[in-house]
């Protein structure tokens, strides 16, 4: 059955993301908040996350480009990014944010840049993973709705 295959494919993908450390149990809790009343829930959550993350990354880019780095603001944005990435279960991105916060609290310039590069990389991986999951969910729900109408 196509529906079962897609569901299995999605489960396998999520399992693999867990194994790679991209997602953790907080993601499972978010996924379980989906309900029949709002099939767009996951997409909306992931959009909110990406919006927050991209704003945070833009601010960090600005602060780290200054000739004199405002480490307090870098730390504050690392804090914010950690909060939002942990809320969607983005395990590796959370770790990268922790590194950035540590480096900025210690005012280590090179460490801050390296950690920020890691934050950006992990954000891209997480974003792509969440987008794939949201797209798969949408396809599954559309197919199920179509089958019910038949």
């Amino acid at each position: 059955m196509v529906g079962t295959d897609l569901r299995q494919q999605l489960m396998n993908y999520i399992q693999s993301s867990h194994e790679q450390g991209i997602l953790d149990e907080a993601f499972d809790r978010v996924k379980n908040l989906e309900n029949d009343g709002n099939p767009q829930f996951l997409s909306e959550i992931f959009s909110m996350f990406c919006h927050d993350a991209e704003n945070g990354i833009a601010e960090l880019t600005r602060f780290l480009a200054e000739p004199v780095i405002d480490y307090e603001n870098v730390s504050a944005f690392a804090h914010q990014l950690k909060g939002s990435s942990s809320s969607v279960g983005g395990h590796r991105m959370v770790l990268a944010c922790c590194e950035l916060r540590q480096a900025s609290n210690n005012k280590i310039k090179e460490g801050s840049f390296e950690a920020f590069d890691k934050v950006k990389r992990e954000y891209c991986i997480l974003r792509d993973s969440l987008n794939y999951i949201a797209q798969m969910e949408k396809t599954i729900l559309t197919n199920e709705a179509r089958r019910r109408r038949q």
């Binding site: 809790r29 379980n32 909060g83 942990s86 809320s87 969607v88």
Partner: protein, 153 residues
């Protein structure tokens, strides 16, 4: 993996949460109707905290600022539980908690933050919170808190 909770209702019936997420959650039944206020300026965190609590049967309202939380309490609203972020714009979490406690609110107040530091812990507890946790909300710690509040009513 679906989060689960132990059944907390020992009596005949109880207040069921507004829980339409049928198979994914064990229905939360509490002895009392429980209410919570979430205070977080981040939309993502605010929505997820609210939805997590609602999924476990707690009637939850969410606001963005400390000022909004203080205004709600000042207007007479009462909540069994308040979940409040440390870092809020203009009025900080600790300042909002101080004002809420000064009004005589006896809610169980749980402070939240992305990273707990010793200084933040001292400041927040001094302001009047009862518990302090790192985000995100995890049923492993918030369900026992809800159960404790339910048992105390």
């Amino acid at each position: 993996m679906a989060p689960t909770i132990e059944s907390v209702n020992q009596g005949n019936g109880g207040f069921e949460g507004n829980n339409k997420r049928s198979d994914r959650f064990v229905k939360a039944t509490w002895k009392n109707k429980l209410t919570a206020l979430v205070v977080d300026n981040g939309e993502l965190c605010r929505v997820l905290e609210r939805e997590n609590l609602r999924a476990y049967g707690v009637e939850t309202v969410a606001v963005e600022t400390g000022e909004a939380a203080v205004e709600l309490i000042a207007s007479g609203s009462t909540f069994n539980l308040i979940f409040i972020d440390m870092y809020l714009p203009t009025m900080s979490g600790p300042e909002a908690v101080r004002q809420i406690r000064a009004m005589g609110a006896r809610s169980k107040i749980i402070g939240l933050t992305a990273f707990i530091t010793e200084k933040d812990e001292q400041d927040f507890f001094a302001a009047g919170i009862d518990e302090f946790f790192e985000k995100p909300l995890d049923p492993d710690w918030f369900v026992p808190i809800i159960r404790e509040v339910d048992n105390q009513i």
